[in-house]
């Protein structure tokens, strides 16, 4: 556990070091938080960026930033090494365009800052503060780290490499509406099975090449392990080529991280004896593709555990990993497809919670605590892929990456749901501990019983109880807990609450800010490692529109997190959309508006969104969660 507060002097030392080195956005975060601290522990040195004076009611926020510093420090060390790696890569220093744009909106940013702090003042922060204070006060001073570390941001939020040149210089313009749904959906169609007699290889290769995005996993020895499209027979020649290219650079002791041909970007991630390759024509940044490859790697670890993976390859470098991974291909594929469709959760390395009233969440938390089985490690209630409630031991946080794997397994891949019963699944949560298995009990609730007259509940609306235990023999214990938990939830009306929250869905931007120019937003709460967003309806419901929306977000994210920039506000106008990103130590807000949207109106709306989220914070996010 990290100490609750570090010596401010040390911190400043860190900060100086950071700014001395080739500082990234991460280090600018640290600067900011240290600034916040400086308002409390005055220390004149250092040239801090201008910040409006903050009212005292914000001391909570300051606390958060301050006590978060230890984890940031830990991350900063990795950031430094990443910088080193980054400089090795060929196209460094492309971030200038976005730095330029940040300059352009610098004044704007100041205005926003002031507004934001005002909004924080006017929002019913006092009651919120009381609430969080009650959480805090129940936990000893030394445990503040635990409370906020319910989710640990173990995936560094700093972009690993320099952002893609093309994406920064030319904001991605999908030629207006030329991607229709059918075309995009064919992205997920199977290639078909290779049949040598039928001589259909050419056709299949054609189909294979038509895909916008590929993921390949191969072993260092050049054995294909998994591919999203096609089978190993079809792609073996390409795998051979990729393997040759990768090992060419490896021989030169210069690890290949990525390259481009035409509009196609190749990104390579190497972990031990595994090469993971993403090939994308969807204008994603290296950082995003790398995050996606990391998630696929985590899925492999989750299936095999790190020691057994290492063992397999150390015993026989030419091991065919296809066999041990058998049956988990669908998990990899559904992960890959969620990336191709566009996943805010992966982009922001955080997860989404179901919005319910704080008292309701408290009731569910209490039911979890009350029914907790002795051998329980984590207990989760998840509705339509969004977290409703979580119970965890005081000393263990949950990693968003792990939860992403769980949610993918439970909600996206059909293997669990289609089983029709309760499931008992050995799973390794690499963020928690990559060396062993935990056992996961999953049961889906049929909410149709609760509210009558409802037609079939789709995958999106299902509610699952997920109970995780370190003991593989504890199925019946978990089952018993599930039964009493569901009984409790039914008795105290929580199931109805969950159902209606799921039915209500996400809010429209116009629900939050009437007549706003904003059409969609993503908001990430940094301390909670959670995000919230507006409904995809009405404009982004179709798969292809949603994909384009995510592309805009991807680029917004890439720009504002680009290396060597200290951008806090980024405003970008393109032919198809106006986009706007705003990053503070507390949150990251990304929003999209009409191309013609007025900048002031946009900024005003963004500020109102931030204000709204702060008001609704304890409904939108799980803060602390139930701890035992």
């Amino acid at each position: 556990m990290s100490p609750p507060q570090t010596n401010p002097e040390n911190d400043q030392g860190e900060d100086r070091n950071e700014s001395a080195t080739d500082a990234q956005i991460m280090s600018s975060d640290i600067d900011l938080s240290s600034n916040d601290r400086m308002t409390r522990t005055p220390s004149p040195e250092g040239n801090r960026p201008p910040l409006p004076p903050r009212p005292n009611t914000l001391s909570l926020l300051n606390d958060e930033a301050a006590s978060r510093t230890p984890s940031l420090q830990a991350e900063a060390t990795t950031a430094v090494s990443r910088t080193d790696i980054g400089t090795q890569s060929p196209d460094g220093g492309n971030a200038s365009p976005s730095a330029y744009s940040s300059l352009a909106v610098r004044g704007l940013s100041r205005g926003l800052k002031a507004r934001a702090s005002l909004s924080q003042l006017t929002s019913p922060k006092s009651s919120d503060a009381g609430d969080s204070a009650s959480i805090r006060s129940s936990v000893q001073n030394g445990d503040i780290g635990d409370v906020e570390a319910m989710f640990m941001d173990f995936v560094n939020t700093t972009p690993a490499g320099p952002a893609d040149t093309t994406s920064l210089l030319h904001f991605p313009e999908f030629p207006a509406d030329d991607v229709n749904d059918e075309e995009f959906l064919s992205e997920f169609d199977p290639i078909g099975e290779l049949d040598e007699q039928a001589g259909n290889e050419d056709l299949f290769l054609q189909r294979w090449k038509a895909k916008q995005k590929h993921f390949l996993i191969l072993s260092a020895a050049g054995k294909p392990i998994w591919t999203r499209h096609g089978d190993s027979g079809l792609i073996s020649t390409y795998v051979g080529v990729i393997q040759t290219i990768i090992s060419f650079y490896e021989d030169a002791d210069d690890r290949l991280r990525g390259f481009s041909t035409g509009d196609t970007r190749f990104v390579i991630l190497t972990h031990g004896s595994l090469h993971l390759v993403a090939i994308s024509r969807m204008m994603e940044s290296d950082y995003q593709l790398r995050l996606q490859l990391e998630a696929l790697y985590m899925q492999i670890l989750s299936t095999l555990t790190l020691p057994s993976l290492t063992h397999l390859f150390s015993v026989r470098p030419s091991t065919d990993l296809k066999r041990p991974l058998q049956g988990s291909e669908t998990l990899l594929s559904s992960l890959a497809d969620s990336f191709t469709r566009g996943s805010p959760s992966t982009l922001l390395s955080s997860l989404e919670c179901l919005k319910v009233r704080k008292v309701h969440r408290q009731t569910i938390n209490n039911a979890l605590l009350k029914t907790k089985a002795p051998k329980l490690l984590y207990g989760l209630v998840v509705a339509s892929g969004r977290l409703v409630s979580v119970i965890r031991p005081k000393k263990h946080s949950l990693h968003p990456g792990d939860l992403q794997l769980l949610f993918n397994m439970v909600f996206e891949a059909d293997g669990v749901k289609a089983g029709g019963g309760e499931s008992w699944i050995p799973v390794c949560l690499p963020g928690f501990n990559s060396s062993g298995y935990l056992y996961m009990y999953v049961s889906f609730l049929d909410l149709r019983d609760e509210i009558e007259g409802h037609e079939d509940i789709s995958k999106d609306e299902s509610v699952a109880i997920v109970l995780i235990s370190p003991d593989k023999e504890s199925f019946f214990e978990m089952q018993e807990m599930r039964n009493s938990l569901v009984e409790q939830l039914r008795k105290n009306g929580s199931l109805k609450v969950i159902k209606s929250a799921v039915d209500q869905g996400r809010p429209l931007t116009t629900d939050i800010v009437p007549r706003t120019v904003l059409r969609h937003f993503l908001y990430k709460s940094r301390a909670n490692v959670q995000f919230t967003m507006s409904s995809y309806a009405p404009e982004f419901t179709s798969v292809s529109r949603r994909r384009r929306l995510m592309s805009v977000y991807n680029n917004l994210h890439a720009s504002i997190h680009a290396k060597n920039t200290h951008v806090k506000v980024h405003h970008c106008v393109s032919r198809s959309a106006t986009s706007f990103a705003w990053v503070t130590p507390v949150f990251e807000l990304y929003c999209i508006a009409e191309p013609s949207a007025n900048r002031n109106a946009l900024v005003q709306s963004a500020s109102k969104i931030a204000q709204w989220v702060q008001q609704e914070e304890e409904r939108l996010f799980i803060i602390g969660g139930a701890v035992f």
Binding site: G415, A418, G420, E473, F475, E477
Partner: protein, 260 residues
């Protein structure tokens, strides 16, 4: 249970722990889904870990509540299997009639069960995907040979299977494992034997009914009033169970009695 339960005294009911084993993709989950939900999904995703389902089976004299462990067939889950077949009173070892290697795997499972599972365990060998063979076309001709019942029916099926093999490529019959081969193996080992199609439903319920009938009365405990006692618990009771298992073979039946 078609007769009104109100008039008669309710039939005694007991739970039976049943485990499904077999190579990946032979149709274990599909068999269970057909039995439990009378449902079939084409291209079902592989099971991850294991699924737990229950279904009642009504016999003339009693009701059996099956507590079914549907295990994943992949190699990497094999080490978890003992957890599921420990204390099981019945096992379904499934192979795919179109895939000879799956019968080999099934034989391994049978051997392991005979070596390690409860001594009184009832094992059924089930060849699934009968719909892919010529026998599968009409279910009246579908092969159903209970090892014990044999001769007349057995011969008929063997012939049918023989024909099937000859016509293999010509008629699109994908059968690769003859009924004769599997059933004679089942005979040798004293297993129940069925060929089924989870897709058409042929013989699926029959398998479970036959198992229910084959469970010795003495090994059943009445489940009434003790639904929550969980005599099939994986965990908490494992201590008791292993203790009992150390005793003589007949103790396996006594154990069930003392669990309530």
């Amino acid at each position: 249970m078609s007769e009104s339960a109100g008039a008669n005294a309710p039939k005694p009911s007991s739970s039976v722990k049943l485990v499904l084993l077999g190579e990946a993709a032979v149709g274990k989950s599909s068999l269970v889904l057909r039995f439990v939900n009378n449902d079939f999904q084409e291209n079902k995703e592989p099971t991850i870990g294991a699924a737990f389902l229950t279904q009642k089976c009504s016999l003339p004299t009693r009701t059996i509540k099956f507590e079914i462990w549907d295990t994943a067939g992949q190699e990497r889950f094999a080490s978890l299997a003992p957890m599921y077949y420990r204390n099981a009173q019945a096992a379904l070892v499934v192979y795919d009639v179109t895939k000879p290697s799956s019968l080999t795997k099934a034989k391994h499972w049978v051997a392991e069960l005979q070596r390690q599972a409860s001594p009184g365990i009832v094992i059924a060998l089930v060849g699934n995907k009968l719909d892919l063979t010529n026998d599968g076309g009409d279910s009246s001709a579908a092969a159903a040979a209970e090892a014990e019942s044999e001769p007349t029916s057995g011969e008929g099926e063997d012939n049918a299977a023989g024909e099937g093999e000859e016509q293999d490529t010509a008629s699109g019959d994908s059968r690769k494992v003859s009924t004769r081969e599997a059933s004679s193996y089942a005979d040798e080992e004293g297993l129940l034997f069925f060929e089924t199609s989870a897709k058409t439903g042929a013989n699926v319920v029959d398998v479970f009914t036959a198992i229910a009938n084959a469970i010795p009365e003495s090994s059943l405990k009445t489940g009434r009033g003790g639904a929550g006692t969980g005599q099939t618990a994986l965990g908490g009771r494992s201590g008791d169970d292993s203790r009992v298992n150390l005793g003589d073979r007949n103790a396996a039946t006594a154990k069930e009695g003392c669990a309530c």
